[in-house]
């Protein structure tokens, strides 16, 4: 069964509490707590002790997205150690890392994300290789939308998974335009992602699609269908038998 959920940052800008409320009644089985902007971090850290137990009961997988606009790098790592202490994967943008030695403290909780084309580094295998060499315990957050934006043929995506697939800890899924803005997945994006279903279905998938509350379930459904592509079966627990038969027919046909 696939583990699919949402990033709080995609659901409610700078308001993780509201995002969690929106996600709670859905079929999501994972959540990424996002503090993409440094100003979001104190409130999230303060709330975490009281909500963590509830979240653990509600979701199979919880991760944390680190801020990207900090200036005090040692101070940021220090704060993130608290998150690591709770056993969460911490998603970090490689271009935010200046002193790699500082980040070794996060050990295998550090999860480096491949970047979109606007970033100066971390976009390709060649650019990621140095980070993983210096941070040998770091894992990979494979952002398939970033990979597609960098290279629409998905060749770079395949190269990233070939090279760093053994580090794969989670996936980010959405559609990203040339300016780096996240959207719900289009037909083209879904089609491009399907060949990667086998690798992606083995780890939790976090959706970063910016969607209205009414479309959360629809986007989760789309992700589950993509992930089910390699088996030919629609495997989500709440899918109906008729859907499963219909989809199996479509994929096998």
């Amino acid at each position: 069964m696939c583990t699919v959920g949402f990033s709080t940052g995609a659901l409610a800008y700078e308001d993780f509490a509201h995002a969690l409320e929106l996600l709670e009644p859905t079929r999501a089985t994972a959540v990424e707590l996002s503090a993409l902007r440094s100003v979001e971090l104190p409130a999230l850290l303060a709330a975490l002790p009281s909500i963590f137990g509830t979240l653990k009961n509600r979701y199979r997988y919880i991760s944390f997205h680190a801020p990207t606009n900090f200036t005090d790098e040692p101070g940021m790592v220090e704060q993130l150690m608290e998150i690591a202490g709770r056993g969460l994967n911490i998603i970090v943008h490689p271009d935010c890392i200046k002193d790699r030695s500082l980040w070794r403290r996060l050990g295998s909780h550090l999860c480096l994300e491949n970047m979109d084309s606007r970033k100066p580094t971390g976009r390709t295998v060649a650019e990621l290789a140095g980070f993983f060499a210096d941070l040998p315990r770091a894992k990979l957050c494979f952002d398939i939308a970033h990979a597609r934006q960098v290279d629409p043929t998905m060749t770079e995506a395949a190269c990233i998974l070939t090279e760093f697939g053994d580090r794969l800890a989670q996936v980010h899924m959405s559609e990203v335009n040339s300016r780096g803005k996240h959207f719900a997945m289009s037909f083209g994006a879904k089609h491009a992602y399907e060949p990667f279903a086998c690798a992606m279905s083995k780890v939790p998938v976090i959706l970063e699609s910016v969607v209205e509350a009414s479309n959360i379930e629809k986007e989760i459904d789309a992700a589950v269908k993509i992930l089910s592509h390699h088996t030919g079966y629609y495997t989500h627990a709440e899918s109906t038998h008729e859907e499963a038969v219909e989809l199996a027919y479509v994929y096998r046909g």
Binding site: S117, R118, T121, T124, E127, E156, P195, H230
Partner: protein, 351 residues
Amino acid sequence: MQASALDRLRAGDAARWATIANAQALSRSKMAALAEIAADLLPTDEGTLVVFGSLARGEYTADSDLDWTVIIDGLADSGHLKIVQSLRPNLTGAGFKVPGPTEVFGGLVFSHDLIHAIGGDEDTNKNMTRRLLLLLESAPIDLSGSKLVHSRVLNGILNRYVEEDANFIAANQHKNKIPRFLLNDVVRFWRTMAVDYANKYRVRGREKWALRNIKLRMSRKLLFVSGFFMCITWTLQNPDPADEPLITQRLVSYLRDWTQKPPLESLATIVEEYGPSLADDIFGAYDSFLALLNNKEHRELLERLSPDEAYENPIFLAARDEAYRFDEALTKLMFDTDERVTALVKKYGVF
């Protein structure tokens, strides 16, 4: 840094094929100069300054001109023209010779036509030339955004060849599959270069005829041979059947990696693996060719010779003899070194 195949073939003798080594060193310094000139001009992730010709091949000599193009792969912006307008005087000011009169180079190009117009009426001679040279002898300047966009456009072009190739439709399970659509375009380009060589004699007369003749026999042939091996050697890699769902990406990645190496280095990898005994004839002849281009007096002589004069001129005849040596060694490489290679050359080289 890992030694190149060419260096390994030198077997520790740094003086072997010294003109090639000098041209490679000069090319590196010229590329560094170009990166400085263009550093602030290009859009972050939607444009690339690409060089072609001798500089891209790592064969830049004292009198080489600079074939360059700014490729835009992103949102259309009328301001892009200003990049080109700023580049031109900066390049001239830095002592680079301007591209030839064909207008294939020295301007602004959009990735759309390179990727979409393959074959058919829209695929003009100019578009095909740009596309194939992008695959066979191009290099982005050493700026991360420029390299990213160059790589993305290469992937886009290669992906078209593979995606629409009947050999790579999922149901086609026959062995020894090669990217035949791409190979056909490589062959078409080689023959087009040969035809255009004849046409240029009609249009331009004797001007640079002898130089073009020798270049056709050497550097142009090198492009074809490199492109040919790029296509047929994929199947020699014994692709993993488990990779079948991602075969398009795997093949595009293989082809892209090949296109990002200079053609002499690509050829060296083949010679090293299948015909090391041919190294002296192949790279020795090519070294002589570069030495000829690097000799101002001889180069200028070749630029002046008419066809009638050329066949009585010792400089031209010596260059032609080296071209014969190059040709014969390449023919041996294709037909007399490795059974699998020969089988593929026979299977795909004619029909």
